[in-house]
């Protein structure tokens, strides 16, 4: 069967079961837009290409399947560089297709020419410039393979216009062996010897912590993680990228560690004698000053990307492998050493089962295991002494944390929450209760303002049956709000809660704390723009909320809207700061708990 390159491209996407493309056409990609008219694939026309990229990311976050975006050459392509960089940082599988000028014009500074493979080389897992239409099916199959296996990540396929127009003989690579990827061999299974070593270390530890990262979600290992925690009775911290990987309501859940993590999560890691790092990469926002991070801890580091092992912190046991498989192997190893029964922390403390040998077969190596009781008791004491706190005064300024808590309590437990970047993101992560995986979507590694609105649209497209709430900042909202036009036009009913503090709040917080309250270029204004009118102009419902009493009724009203987007303008206290906080570059031991502690709120 003869097809044009463009037809082959769309057909290849169909073969990969792509259900939606987020994109915006232009000259160089024109041929590829024509066969879309005849394809069952839904195309969502964005208002800015950055939106297409973040939508693809949001879709991938909640479905685990690669999100697809398609844009034209030159400025279309450069507009999507930020989402590619964002996806690279957070290991999100997206496939971006860019149009390119005809092969004969490449290198001549032709109209809308941009060497996008060169530009994106360092922010993609891999990219391809297709020079022969006959290669298209194979390259598309390779792109999906690379994006979605091993450590997932973004890929880009650049397709010159003459290649799209050229004829080719259709085929479809039926297996991986027909792909031309001689250098691509992602690891999956852990080295059994290392896994046994890890199991032994776990049985020797008296102050262990599981440090769960985004890799747990990428590997679909939430069930295995829960089993590991319950079997061993080890408490779990979930990083910003791993929120939802372990239920926050579980007795062994310690919540988020890091710069704005809670005191217990941060301090438990600092005092631990063993860190079991699963799909986590010792990001500087988690470790604080690396040399002072978890100084007494031995480390078991499991990651599918060998380059993460030893990159920041040397581990006593390094295991290359997929988190789900390695946890499975670890559980079998633990059973072989005699640890067969669950020893859930809380139940163990209550039932006195956490003593020496809890859950272990008699006379097995596991029966000599240290008692985790004192460790859990210490953790409970920290939790009690240093909970997350804020105070919503009656009639006082509306506290952002209060908005998050009411929203949490008034929405279904499996609501998908999508955050922007800034204070509101941290409050959302801190105050939401994530009990299900893939319900938290945010930009962690890159910290891309403007992520929330488009990513929430992508998430809603991927999970239309779930309620999707973006918790956004006023600054962030202004960066990509135009995509609500897309959402209205396409009837994608996302809801956006703007925590409008009239400031680039996170930057303001740093200026307050570290630049002697010298506020430089952080004031935005609560009323400019008028978010309600703006929402209405974009076909959405707009609601303004100025006091605590109005919060619940307004959310109820928003929850009732199901045929269009909703934007809620919550006028929150501009002076509220995110605590706890570990100042950048400081040791995690120097955590500042809150304004009540120490002078000047530090």
């Amino acid at each position: 069967m003869q097809l044009t390159g463009a037809q082959a491209l769309i057909k290849s996407l169909e073969m990969k079961d792509v259900e939606v493309i987020f994109g915006l056409p232009g000259g160089a990609i024109l041929p590829v837009y024509d066969p879309i008219l005849d394809s069952p694939i839904r195309h969502i026309l964005v208002r800015h290409e950055q939106g297409a990229g973040h939508m693809a990311e949001g879709y991938a976050h909640v479905t685990g399947r690669p999100g697809v975006a398609m844009v034209t050459s030159g400025p279309g392509a450069t507009n999507i560089v930020t989402p590619l960089a964002d996806a690279a940082m957070d290991s999100i599988p997206i496939v971006v297709i860019t149009g390119q000028v005809a092969t004969g014009s490449i290198g001549t500074d032709a109209f809308q020419e941009c060497p996008i493979t060169g530009v994106t080389m360092d922010v993609t897992k891999h990219n391809w410039l297709v020079t022969d239409a006959q290669d298209i099916p194979r390259v598309v199959a390779e792109a999906f393979e690379v994006a979605s296996t091993g450590r997932p990540g973004p890929v880009l396929i650049d397709v010159p216009k003459d290649v799209s127009n050229a004829q080719m003989d259709w085929y479809w690579p039926s297996s991986v062996s027909e792909l031309d990827l001689p250098g691509y061999h992602p690891a999956t299974e852990g080295d059994p010897r290392a896994v046994r070593e890890a199991a032994k270390l776990i049985l020797c530890a008296s102050r262990p912590v599981i440090y769960a990262g985004g890799g747990v979600l990428k590997a679909h290992a939430a069930d295995e993680l829960k089993e590991l925690a319950e079997r061993t009775g080890i408490p779990v911290v979930t990083t910003l990228m791993a929120r939802g990987a372990f239920p926050d309501s579980h007795p062994l859940a310690l919540g988020m560690p890091g710069m704005h993590g809670n005191y217990t999560a941060v301090t438990a890691m600092q005092r631990a004698d063993l860190l079991v790092a699963l799909g986590a990469r010792f990001d500087d926002r988690v470790t604080g000053k690396v040399s002072a991070f978890a100084p007494e801890a031995k480390v078991i580091h499991v990651d599918v990307d060998p380059a993460e092992l030893g990159k920041v912190r040397q581990a006593e046991v390094q295991i290359v492998g997929d988190a789900r498989r390695v946890i499975g192997e670890l559980l079998r190893s633990l059973a072989a050493l005699g640890l067969c029964e669950p020893t859930t922390g809380e139940a163990a403390v209550v039932a006195g089962r956490s003593g020496r040998g809890a859950g272990a077969a008699p006379d097995s190596p596991a029966s000599a295991r240290p008692d985790l009781g004192p460790w859990m008791a210490q953790i409970r004491a920290w939790q009690k002494q240093f909970p997350l706190t804020y105070r919503q005064e009656e009639g006082g300024a509306l506290k952002p944390q209060y908005v998050v808590e009411v929203l949490r309590d008034m929405t279904p437990d499996d609501t998908i929450v999508v955050a922007g970047v800034g204070q509101h993101q941290m409050w959302a992560s801190q105050y939401w209760r994530f009990d299900y995986p893939y319900t938290w979507v945010n930009s962690g590694g890159a910290g891309t303002m403007g992520f929330a609105v488009p990513a929430s649209i992508g998430a809603k497209v991927g999970r239309p049956g779930k309620m999707v709430w973006a918790i956004d900042g006023d600054g962030c909202f202004q960066m990509t709000a135009q995509e609500l036009v897309t959402a209205s036009a396409e009837r994608i009913p996302v809801k956006v809660a703007i925590l409008n503090n009239a400031y680039l709040g996170m930057v303001r917080q740093w200026q307050e704390l570290f630049y002697e309250e010298r506020y430089s270029e952080v004031y935005l204004s609560p009323d400019l723009p008028d978010y309600v009118k703006w929402a209405e102009a974009m076909g959405a419902v707009g609601v303004r909320v100025e006091s605590a009493e109005e919060v619940a009724p307004a959310i109820e009203k928003a929850n009732g809207v199901d045929d269009r987007p909703v934007v809620m303008d919550f006028r929150t206290d501009a002076f509220e700061k995110v605590y706890p906080m570990v100042p950048a570059g400081a040791s995690n031991d120097d955590i500042i708990v809150g304004p009540a502690q120490g002078e000047g709120g530090r």
């Binding site: 979605s148 999956t188 290359v320």
Partner: protein, 181 residues
Amino acid sequence: MKAPVRHHIVSARVENKAGVLVRVSGLFSRRGFNIYSLAVAPTHDERFSRITIVVDVESAPLEQIVRQLDKLVNVVEIAELAPEEATERELLLATVRAAPADRGQVIALVGVFEGTIVDVGLDAMTVLLAGSPSKIDDFEALIRPFGIIELQRTGRVALPKLARRAARLRAVPSGESHEVS
């Protein structure tokens, strides 16, 4: 005690495709690793090239450099060649001042080092020497006083020494199974 090794040789077999060298060298600059020298040419199998990179291990741990390089989709195989277990060669071309009165001395020096004189001008000669990097260093030091007009070294190429016991190619861990998505 042995003197600390500052340089390591990384030998990578890469796909012979457009842009691969940029990906490899780009990775060094992006990660802040230093390249001391780099040589690249196709292998006997035209689908692949071999890149021999001498890296400055003070800029980053070797293991980290190797593992990051191995992640590049076009890098097929990568190994560290420990200097004592590798056969290394480099080539030098130099145009040296050699007025008729000095010619004899230059010719003698080239002879001692088993180099070749490849071009002779009125008051200069171009000489060629292939050999181990340290031999090239010595030769360069000795011709320098005559006055070097131009000098070009290739950077080293290397292969593992043949196994009298198994060659210690430090392969990077990678799984054998390759999953279909």
